[in-house]
């Protein structure tokens, strides 16, 4: 019980301390509201636009999740291809790294022009493009670094490649996969918001941020950022919970 209380109280106190410091910083410098917002300014912003936050937040959330799911699917398949075939790894790795090195902000206008008006699709596409890389890399590394003895144990009994994959390679890769998924979650949010902010007549929290920007409404802009952080935290801990269920064995018991 004490342990649970601690697990919740410690991060909450840390957040409270951070907010208090932020409030003090704004008060100390006497920054006006058109320059910087304080946490106390955010509450009225949320109150005023509560409905917008709910609908826009939902927009952002579902598109991020769909993009992430696509990234998981595609990244896992790509990782399997690269993990099992040396040739494919040699062939695809440089391309992947190059693709990953392209700043996605530069891709946004291209995608927005290519699929004009298809805002949902564009946003999901960008979330997907930015987040599949770590998943593909981690799965391919997990599979290609499988110790030969693990294979031999099953192979010497006449097991097929598919059996070896399901019984050993896949579960053994899960800890790496979830590590990558934690990175991918936050990346997917970046992708979604890039598109929402940049593309005209966008929707989602990114668009709400943009409307705050055009109106110099700093409290609204900061309120959006905090809302994004909140969604990011929620999704992250959902991944952590999934990791506990599916790869909890990789966690050492505290001793």
């Amino acid at each position: 019980m004490n342990k649970h209380l601690r697990a919740i109280a410690v991060p909450l106190i840390a957040i409270a301390v951070l907010l208090a410091f932020w409030e003090w910083l704004v008060w100390f410098h006497g920054w006006p509201r058109f320059k910087m917002a304080a946490p106390s300014d955010l509450i009225p912003a949320y109150q005023r636009h509560w409905n917008l936050f709910l609908t826009m937040g939902w927009q952002t959330l579902w598109r991020t999740v769909v993009g992430l799911l696509l990234a998981v699917l595609f990244g896992t398949i790509l990782g399997m291809i690269m993990g099992f075939s040396r040739t494919m790894r040699d062939a695809l790795y440089p391309i992947l790294v190059g693709f990953n090195a392209i700043p996605k902000a530069t891709v946004v206008p291209i995608v927005a022009l290519m699929f004009v008006g298809q805002h949902d699709f564009n946003t999901i596409l960008l979330a997907f493009m930015i987040s599949f890389f770590p998943i593909a890399v981690s799965v391919s590394i997990g599979l290609s670094t499988l110790e030969p003895e693990y294979r031999d144990i099953l192979r010497s009994l006449g097991a097929s490649q598919a059996t070896i994959f399901w019984k050993i390679a896949l579960p053994k890769t899960l800890p790496e996969f979830f590590g990558a998924l934690k990175v991918a979650v936050t990346l997917a949010f970046i992708g979604t918001n890039l598109m929402e902010i940049v593309s005209p007549h966008g929707r989602g929290l990114g668009a709400l941020f943009d409307s705050g920007r055009t109106n110099s409404d700093f409290p609204l802009m900061f309120a959006v950022l905090i809302a994004l952080a909140f969604l990011g935290i929620v999704l992250y801990y959902i991944v952590v919970a999934l990791e506990k269920i599916f790869a909890g064995w990789a966690e050492r018991a505290p001793s």
Binding site: D152, S156, L157, G158
Partner: protein, 265 residues
């Protein structure tokens, strides 16, 4: 006399960038049913290649490997393997790890019978009460015991042990040697043991094969009579000392550190 394992004139070379690297050159080993052969030799002389050949995980360039009067052409379910690395699956309990081979090979056992058998084997090696633990909760020696149970669960004709005790401390190792005798009594098997430890070889095996340096051929065969060292005390008798002396000398010849003229048995 028909042998359970027969290795006849096996030659094998690995293809490297610098050309073929011969590792085995004229290997002759025969193990009768119920026999236990230890293979010793200098480092890197191709001992592990030998285990992979018997398991059917690879084919020799030349020569033949026979199991049970059948030529080995690929992996077969009648082989059990244990390595220096116990390679237990961390996400399974010890019991589920031991049961793994039965998920691959066809078995007549029901789920319940299989579990009973696994529990019996675990108790035999002294792991009673650890069935539901995860591998990470066990010590190195205990993991190796569990790995041994996994190798035996499907009642293999042949047990291949590739330096299974190599990474353990001396006391744990001696403990496991005694466990091996206990297991063999209750669960008879035909075994091939790869080892670096000469005491281990005479303690466990009834025949010790010394391989020459790379490329390896059968250099010397020492028969250990059934009256050989079977308890730890036996290892400190003059007979055991004599056997160890012979083997040590043979290893020195294999390493090229002693002249070979006295090699004839």
């Amino acid at each position: 006399m028909t042998q359970l394992i027969e290795i006849k004139g096996v030659r094998h070379a690995y293809q490297t960038e610098a050309g073929p690297l011969p590792v085995l050159d004229g290997l002759e080993i025969a193990v009768p049913e119920g026999g236990f052969v230890a293979v010793v030799g200098p480092s890197g002389c191709g001992k592990s290649t030998l285990t992979r050949l018997i398991a059917g995980l690879m084919k020799p360039d030349e020569g033949e490997v026979w199991l049970h009067g059948e030529r080995v052409k690929g992996p077969r379910a009648t082989v059990g393997m244990a390595f220096q690395n116990p390679v237990l699956l961390e996400w399974r309990t010890i019991l589920k790890n031991v049961l793994l081979p039965l998920e691959i090979v066809p078995t007549k056992l029901t789920r319940k019978q299989a579990e009973e058998r696994a529990r019996f084997l675990l108790a035999l090696v002294g792991l009673e009460g650890f069935e539901e633990k995860r591998p990470s909760e066990l010590s190195g020696g205990m993991r190796q015991r569990a790995s041994l149970c996994r190798a035996l669960i499907h009642q293999p004709d042949v047990l291949i042990l590739d330096e299974p005790f190599g990474a353990l401390d001396a006391f744990t190792r001696e403990d496991l040697w005694q466990t091996m005798h206990r297991v063999k009594e209750r669960e008879p098997f035909t075994g091939v043991l790869i080892t670096h430890d000469l005491r281990e070889s005479i303690f466990l095996a009834d025949q010790v094969v010394v391989l020459s340096g790379r490329p390896a051929r059968t250099q010397y065969v020492l028969d250990i009579p059934s009256s050989g060292p079977r308890t730890l005390e036996d290892l400190y008798t003059p007979i055991a000392a004599e056997q160890l002396n012979i083997l040590r000398h043979q290893i020195q010849i294999a390493q090229g550190r002693a002249p070979a003229e006295k090699a004839a048995p």
